[in-house]
């Protein structure tokens, strides 16, 4: 067979639009997923059962259902229960963000629990409130330990963004499908999509290594 990338390059503008769509949903889901995950993770850690139980239910529900199903459900089923339409972006963002929140909540909880009780003692002995101790003493140390796991989460979110194509959200894979169907060149089109993903993700991983080294300077 012959590779024909010219037909892909002819559609560079479509791929650029797709890349912009991928980056947009990635940014939304990264911020929403990781910050909501922190709240849920703290909730899982709480001794108050009115906080603890809903947080646990949330984690178990979203960890044990496929993201693709969640996205389809938000897109097709939720509008029946709610009085308004939901765009592909919102449906996909909800699915990916909530799923990431559930997974990252477990990372946060594990990270926080890994900090020695002596650190809580030291903070409380100075007269810190729970929130102060968490913000100033526990979380900064826990974040350092969680960084590799959180970076994995970010990479996972980036790759999960392709699931948004299931509801026809315009992102890289969706545009790749479009190019493949226009020119009957799926091999080249999907190869190009894979390469673009690698080009985005590889620097992200390198950046996380850099961050880890920087955070280790107090050792």
């Amino acid at each position: 067979m012959r590779w024909d990338f010219a037909s892909v390059f002819d559609n560079t503008d479509a791929l650029l639009v797709g890349a912009a769509g991928t980056l947009r949903i990635f940014a939304i889901c990264l911020v929403l997923g990781l910050s909501l995950g922190l709240l849920v993770g703290l909730g899982r850690y709480s001794r108050n059962r009115w906080i603890h139980i809903p947080a646990t239910v949330f984690v178990e529900f979203f960890r044990n259902t496929p993201v693709l199903v969640q996205i389809l459900w938000f897109y097709f089923a939720l509008p029946i229960l709610l009085p308004f339409q939901i765009s592909p972006l919102v449906a996909a963002s909800l699915g990916i963000s909530l799923n990431s929140a559930a997974f990252s909540a477990e990372i946060y909880r594990g990270g926080i629990q890994s900090i020695e009780t002596g650190q809580w003692d030291g903070a409380r002995a100075l007269g810190m409130r729970w929130g102060q101790a968490m913000r100033r003493i526990i979380l900064p140390q826990a974040l350092k330990r969680m960084l590799p796991a959180l970076t994995n989460r970010a990479i996972e979110i980036f790759k999960m963004s392709t699931l948004a194509s299931a509801v026809a959200y315009v992102e890289l894979l969706q545009q790749g499908k479009l190019i493949a169907s226009l020119n009957y060149n799926p091999i080249e089109a999907y190869t190009a999509v894979a390469v673009i993903f690698f080009v985005f993700l590889w620097p992200l991983v390198q950046f996380s290594y850099f961050l880890e080294r920087r955070l280790r300077r107090d050792e």
């Binding site: 002596g118 003692d121 100075l126 007269g127 810190m128 409130r129 050792e219």
Partner: protein, 255 residues
């Protein structure tokens, strides 16, 4: 003048009675060394005094004011805001130092002033520098705990407690985690604080140090005060058999 009054303090962990009714009055300027075998409840007693552990029963009064309010059980109900006030007035130094590893020495000492007191940074920095100088570590201000020796870490921890201007200091086996050659520098700092007339309670295994620094010795056994008195009374002429046995086991290899 009494600063702290403990009445009938009890504490249990699960099925174990760790403290069985401690009565203790601490006058301002007193230095009390608490001795006892491991499991006698001495650390728990200390940790109850600044509410790192909630007392099971009995009362604790600071400056004549009984803390908490009565609940349905023997255990009193304490408001978090009340305990936060108490912890600022009663400083604590831990066996394992519990320095914050992500902050420099001066960062550790400033932390309470900044976060708890809301003191502006320049002011907190100046105060922290003063406390570090007091424990002889002015030149280590920008060093992270990982690069300090055990003795230096403990001195930073003492400076951190002092920065909050506590009315009373609790030392929970401050030298037990140190290599023998580093014990002296920490004891010298504590001795200097004693000479300033600070009120302190000290759980320790250093009998010689307790003899020199304390104004009163309390010997704890099975969660109760077994014997107490001046260092001469308790350490040189113990009246009770268990105190004698404890002291003998500690002096077994002295020369």
């Amino acid at each position: 003048m009494t600063i702290l009054k403990v009445t009938g303090l009890t504490k249990r962990f699960g099925a174990t009675d760790v403290l069985r009714g401690i009565d203790l009055e601490v006058a301002r300027g007193e230095r009390i060394a608490i001795l006892g075998a491991s499991g006698s409840g001495k650390s728990t007693l200390l940790r109850c005094l600044n509410f790192m552990e909630r007392p099971g029963g009995g009362t604790i009064a600071l400056d004549g004011e009984i803390l908490g309010r009565e609940g349905r059980t023997a255990e009193r109900i304490y408001r978090e805001s009340e305990l936060i006030q108490v912890r600022q007035r009663v400083g604590m130094v831990f066996q394992q130092f519990n320095l914050f590893p992500h902050m420099t020495a001066i960062g550790n000492v400033m932390e309470g002033l900044r976060t708890v007191r809301g003191m502006p940074k320049p002011e907190a920095e100046a105060r922290a520098a003063k406390e570090l100088a007091r424990v002889g570590l002015a030149e280590k201000a920008d060093t992270y705990p990982a690069h300090l020796s055990g003795g230096q870490k403990q001195r930073v921890a003492i400076a951190r407690a002092l920065a909050m201007d506590p009315e009373m200091l609790l030392f929970d086996e401050p030298t037990s985690a140190l290599d023998p050659e580093l014990v002296g520098e920490v004891l010298a700092v504590i001795l200097a604080l004693a000479e300033e007339g600070r009120t302190m309670l000290l759980v320790t295994h250093e009998l010689g140090f307790a003899y020199h620094v304390a104004t009163r010795i309390i010997f704890l056994a099975d969660g109760a005060i077994h014997e107490q008195g001046t260092p001469d009374e308790v350490l040189k002429n113990p009246k009770k058999e268990r105190t004698r046995a404890f002291l003998a086991s500690h002096k077994q290899f002295s020369f």
